[in-house]
């Protein structure tokens, strides 16, 4: 199966910007999550981020918070998520990136956690509450297990910090586009353009922009600003949760196509 880095190499060869949808595992249920992964894979996703529901998601806005709460209320457990991933991942073209807060990792034990997600077919890991200073505990063992740990850069990060984070990040560098939590925004902050350029000056690694992107024109804008990937979360989570699972799946399929069309145009 393709690693996150390899996936970006292929895309770079074809000068393509990647689409990375995000969904929350277990909302409305894990069968729907499995089907959603297949749908997104078919409808234009290049990589897929899968959120592990957590009780205290302090980097998340209301949409993903609510999805996580619903998933936990249904009794979604990490083992069930990984069991589902193990079945689905081999059937997907897109590498899977797991998005989880640090406590569930720590609770399971770092090595055991990495070993289990790698065995399930997970290729990348995003931990939103693990900044560079605390990431050592995860970065080195992750290499051993073949999981790439993607670090985040924020609009508030000073230049020297951006360079240090980019240097340590694996797979790609996740650029948080807005000072805030995850969630849909009406407008992209213009300074994202400067941030992408700043980041480009200090790293050859791919850059993925996320937080706040919810419309095809915003995705297009971010691509135009030079990003290698567009990450869209809350807008998918919201669509998938509305109506019946079948309606939700249909809705995210159409949405995924429209985003893809917006970033492969011309």
């Amino acid at each position: 199966m393709t690693s996150v880095s390899q996936c970006f190499e292929h895309l770079r060869d074809r000068a393509r910007c990647a689409l990375i949808p995000f969904i929350t595992a277990g909302d409305p249920d894990l069968e729907t999550t499995a089907e959603a992964l297949r749908v997104l894979d078919r409808q234009g996703a290049d990589l897929i981020e899968l959120g592990v529901p957590y009780s205290d998601p302090l980097a998340d806005g209301p949409v993903i918070q609510a999805a996580a709460t619903r998933a936990l209320q249904r009794g979604t457990r990490l083992d069930d998520v990984l069991k589902m991933v193990k079945q689905v991942a081999p059937t997907l073209r897109s590498p899977l990136i797991l998005f989880t807060y640090y406590n569930p990792i720590l609770n399971r034990g770092i090595d055991r956690f990495l070993q289990e997600i790698a065995a399930a077919g997970v290729k990348g890991l995003v931990v939103p509450d693990l900044p560079l200073e605390e990431a050592d505990s995860l970065l080195k063992p992750a290499i051993v297990h073949g999981v790439e740990v993607i670090l985040l850069v924020a609009p508030t990060s000073p230049q020297e910090r951006i360079a240090a984070i980019a240097q340590q990040s694996q797979g790609f560098v996740y650029l948080v586009s807005t000072t805030g939590v995850t969630g849909m925004r009406l407008q992209m902050q213009a300074r994202v353009k400067d941030l992408v350029q700043e980041l480009r000056q200090v790293t050859d690694k791919p850059i993925g922009v996320g937080f706040g992107i919810s419309q095809p024109d915003q995705a297009h804008q971010v691509m135009e600003w030079g990003s290698d990937a567009v990450i869209v979360g809350s807008a998918f989570v919201k669509r998938l949760s509305e109506g019946t699972p079948a309606e939700g799946l249909k809705s995210i399929a159409e949405f995924c196509q429209s985003l893809k069309a917006a970033i492969v145009a011309e």
Binding site: L58, T69, Y102, P104, D129, P131, T156, T179
Partner: protein, 428 residues
């Protein structure tokens, strides 16, 4: 560590030991926390990247101003004239008589009267100092979380005093049981934002305050109200409350020419306990005891006894003991006291427990309620329900003591805010 430690700790809970668990004093000889904000393995900064520069900025400002004569002068002046410090160290004569043994010996019980501070609790020490810091950092918007409402009231108070915009996050359940404090905050011009997620208590209010800070970090200072959260908060909040222990030392010296034998304080996040303990940490003859909330009992699922029953984890930016399930999901705690109803605990307390420098026990809602009434009846002092947990532990502690050791209890807050809750419970 894991199981072997838990085992040792359980032994300690049944038989408190004062002398044979003393740690190697060299472990306490250097500065805590270290430059990464660690107390041993506890503490650190587990926050979204967006907040990291703000935490560095805050740490730098703290180190700059703590030594700045103007800052210190302004703070000391306000602590004296606005807060009403020093707070008295009061000899609780009838409480002492209550626990006296037939032979006339028994502990001499003193109360450090933080309840007499302006706004009725120790919380104002930290809120005031952080507001002065925020002003110097040029931040005009203040946010805070609150459980019992004491920290929210203290923050609203200092914001009114300095003309700062103030937003307080409070769980909907806590707003109900602490409605008097909600009114006080609003009266002083604060906006109180109800938080309905989770159980609508302190944990959820804290998460929401952190989300606000992530969003408005460039204009906003977050006055965190306990010795919890990411570095530098556990250090800074402790230092701003250290005046409690410093005054206690001077007052003990004046009253009996020595230091206290035992320090006793309730622990939710643990700020009033750290404020009392910090001054005496290097003196191993001073025994330090923290009392957690056992809710319906630590053997049930309804308690907030983090150090007694939790495992090491990460919540709200710090590694510390944490109430969590097998999957690492944070468990909703329970306590009659909104201020102790928190599934985490300040990282330095985890460190003090693991190094056996301090001891931690838990008392139930019922025991706290009894102590609430006992202190009211014996001393004419209505304690906060949080404080009542520390008082309640006297029942277990006093019979084990030999001679007449001097106990100083941090009387961390007054109970006016709790009388409605308690009268409801006593009538039902």
């Amino acid at each position: 560590m894991g199981h072997s430690f838990v085992y040792r700790f359980r032994l300690v809970t049944t038989t408190p030991l004062s002398t044979n668990l003393q740690p190697d004093s060299s472990a306490f000889s250097h500065d805590r926390p270290d430059s990464l904000g660690r107390f041993g393995k506890f503490g650190g900064k587990y926050v979204p990247e967006t907040l990291m520069p703000a935490l560095f900025e805050l740490e730098a400002a703290y180190h700059q101003y703590r030594k700045d004569p103007d800052f210190q002068q302004e703070l000391q002046g306000l602590l004296t004239d606005y807060v009403g410090r020093p707070s008295p160290l009061y000899f609780a004569e009838r409480l002492t008589e209550h626990y006296a043994k037939p032979d006339g010996t028994g502990p001499q019980i003193y109360l450090k009267r933080e309840d007499l501070n302006h706004t009725g609790a120790h919380k104002i020490n930290n809120a005031l100092a952080q507001a002065l810091l925020a002003k110097r950092m040029g931040k005009q918007r203040i946010i805070a979380e609150t459980g019992a409402g004491q920290h929210g009231v203290a923050t609203a108070t200092v914001c009114a005093r300095f003309g700062l915009k103030c937003i307080i996050y409070m769980g909907v359940h806590d707003m109900e049981r602490q409605s008097l404090n909600v009114f006080r905050m609003r009266l002083m011009g604060a906006e109180v934002c109800p938080v309905a997620s989770g159980t609508g208590t302190l944990k959820d209010a804290t998460s929401e305050a952190i989300r606000d800070w992530v969003t408005n970090v460039e204009t906003t200072h977050y006055i965190l109200g306990s010795v919890a959260g990411p570095h530098p908060y556990p250090m800074m909040v402790r230092d701003f409350h250290a005046v409690i222990g410093q005054e206690t030392r001077a007052q003990a010296q004046e009253k009996w020419g020595g230091v206290p034998d035992i320090l006793l304080a309730c622990v939710g996040g643990g700020s009033n306990a750290m404020g009392l303990f910090h001054e005496f940490i290097n003196e191993s003859q001073v025994r330090m005891i923290g009392v957690e909330a056992a809710g319906h009992g630590v053997e049930t699922e309804k308690h907030a006894a983090t150090l007694t029953k939790g495992r090491v984890g990460v919540l709200h930016g710090a590694m510390s003991y944490l109430l969590q399930d097998d999957d690492g999901q944070v468990i909703e705690p329970h306590s009659i006291s909104a201020g102790l109803d928190y599934p985490g605990v300040g990282p330095e307390h985890s460190y003090l427990m693991e190094t056996a420098r301090a001891e931690y026990y838990a008392v139930t809602d019922e025991q706290a309620l009894a102590a609430f009434q006992k202190l009211s009846q014996l001393e004419g002092i209505i304690p906060a329900l949080e404080t009542a947990h520390a008082i309640a532990y006297l029942d277990a502690l006093c019979p084990q003591l030999v001679g007449s050791p001097r106990i100083v209890i941090n009387c961390s807050g007054r109970g006016d805010k709790d009388v409605l809750t308690v009268s409801g419970l006593l009538n039902s």
